[in-house]
Symmetry: C2
Subunit: 357 residues, 2 copies
């Protein structure tokens, strides 16, 4: 199964994801060709080292990295154009394009198609935002259909692995159910929180805090793209949304009845749910610790802080600045491996920082 | 109205918020006394400079900073103990404690009570996490009741202003409606997203990304505290939750009917809602820009990045590390004032960083 990817790879669509695939494959020695109907996007992708814009006649594998509504049509076109190539795509819904293809492509051609979906992206877009490292350590769903040839599945698995991702094989149906829960439904709940803000007087919104900003961040995403995704995965999303409606009813009933613990039960289930989110693919949640440091809000202070942290030898794995531009001192939360936290606190305090766990 | 705060202030409850109030007031020259039934917490607060632990007999103002369910009882006690003091609290719901007080305190005493609620906090707790700057530039809701004396309202307004906060006066009812929308409802939507994770096989959760983590972050908060808050504000939360249920029904109907634009309408309302969230109190949303930098995941690289950024003279206002420990290079997003973004990109690229807007 850990077959090497051999032969030329053609990437159709040189946006963020397509260009990142090209960068990652090129870095691992694969010969990559690029195609996009936007010649400027191809040029940028090629200049960044994602591959060559020269035509190709016999790619071993074609990666279709176009917007969701175009996927089926482009896959059909390249299956016909390259009669021996394995064809995959990177779109976030898998069942709908497959059923469109199954209705319009012969079985022999369709056996060369295996869907894919790398679980990585960005709020940014375009070839400029691409990086060779986008897929490192991320899951890449590989979704064979019943008629996919084992050889094609091996090629797409090798493709995913070659980018540094971890291939996770599941059926198209299972994939769509999974992303409905971990991506599409959370998007809708963010949307539902943001959608209620319209009815408020501006002075009520003056009371907004960080929690509101975090919950509603993804609700600012492109409504056209999200409309396409949600429509394409409507069945799985509706089923989960019915579960949400049942929980809303549970909360409404519980909030009207102090003697029950129905609200507490939902809150407890949510805490348990947050603990199920893995820290990274395949790994257990890691023991991390947070070190809090007070930081004057002026140029150079972050540099001084990280210089001092770097001297301690402790690797800072994540951080957050408690963001309030109106405040002359911020709180910086540094996430480090738990055993290293005391070392970091001691080192920072010794250098005059106000730091604690 | 911009009266100075004069006389001694007693803070009852030296947790995160109480101690931060003490630090802020002490820094602005106010004489602060501290009280907490946990003598260790008082000692820490006093050692940090939040005030003195000595007894007081005649405070001008008492700030009650205790858990929500204890607020009414403690306010009643201090109104009786200090017969000329103005008394306020800092809890996140205002109507319920007031109605409890109104039923058990004479009108003369009650005229000295004015509720308050600083819109600042942290997932951290305790006096160690307190900072003098917690309230700088934040809104502080001041919520007089019909019987509050004008003098008491002036004292509480001066208290809020003395901490660096911006006093926002509204009735207790209006406050509870406002925080239901900008705090309690978003918490519940985060909870609803997290609560659906329990039903998923672990391999589905392997597809989790950053959006899920952001939406569900606050759902990990203490269920006991949140149960108290939601129960105390049940009426306002239920009304908004009914609006959410109506939107859920709208989404369910729209997802079953491709010919309608009901889903798109909700998505558009959400985008508009996110734009209503102010960047800071009273100010317009600021023009910021994001600069993206690729960062090797090893000690010292953040220091080098911020050193180089600092040399450019551009102030980094916020940042986020795209967090994936399995990846040797991360993406750092630096938030800066929009006009400064190109300067920063040029400076970083000149020093060998892969950086772009």
């Amino acid at each position: 199964m850990s077959q090497q990817l051999t032969g030329q790879v053609l990437i159709v669509g040189t946006g963020l994801v397509g260009t990142s695939v090209g960068l990652a494959l090129s870095a691992s020695g694969v010969e990559v060709r690029l195609r996009d109907r936007d010649s400027g996007a191809v040029r940028v992708a090629a200049e960044r080292g994602a591959g060559s814009a020269e035509p190709t006649s016999d790619p071993a594998c074609v990666v279709v990295a176009v917007p969701p509504v175009q996927v089926a049509a482009v896959v059909r076109t390249v299956l016909a154009e390259f009669r021996s190539a394995t064809v995959t795509d990177v779109s976030s819904v898998k069942r709908e394009p497959l059923s469109t293809l199954a209705a319009s492509v012969d079985g022999d051609s369709l056996s060369r198609y295996v869907g894919g979906h790398p679980m990585a992206g960005s709020e940014l877009s375009g070839p400029w935002a691409a990086t060779a490292e986008l897929f490192q350590g991320r899951a890449w769903a590989v979704t064979p259909h019943a008629g996919s040839s084992p050889a094609a599945v091996e090629v797409v698995t090798a493709l995913a692995t070659s980018t540094g991702a971890v291939a996770v094989t599941m059926t198209p149906d299972e994939h769509d159910v999974a992303v409905a829960r971990v991506s599409h439904l959370p998007h809708l709940l963010s949307v539902l929180a943001a959608a209620q803000l319209g009815g408020a007087p501006a002075e009520h919104l003056a009371l907004s805090g960080q929690g509101l900003r975090d919950v509603t961040r993804i609700a600012a995403g492109d409504p056209t793209l999200w409309g396409q995704i949600l429509t394409a995965n409507a069945t799985a999303v509706r089923e989960l949304l019915r579960g949400v409606r049942a929980d809303v009813d549970e909360l409404l009933a519980g909030l009207g009845d102090d003697s029950s613990d129905r609200v507490g039960d939902v809150l407890q289930r949510a805490v348990a749910g947050t603990r199920r989110i893995p820290a990274k693919h395949g790994g257990p949640a890691r023991a991390e610790a947070v070190v809090v440091v007070a930081l004057p809000d002026r140029p150079g202070e972050l540099a001084r802080l990280f210089g001092d942290a770097g001297q301690s030898g402790v690797n800072v794995e994540d951080l957050r600045i408690d963001h309030d531009p109106g405040r002359p001192v911020g709180l910086v939360e540094l996430v480090v491996q738990a055993p290293a936290a005391d070392t970091l606190v001691d080192a920072l305090v010794a250098r005059g920082w106000s730091a604690h766990r």
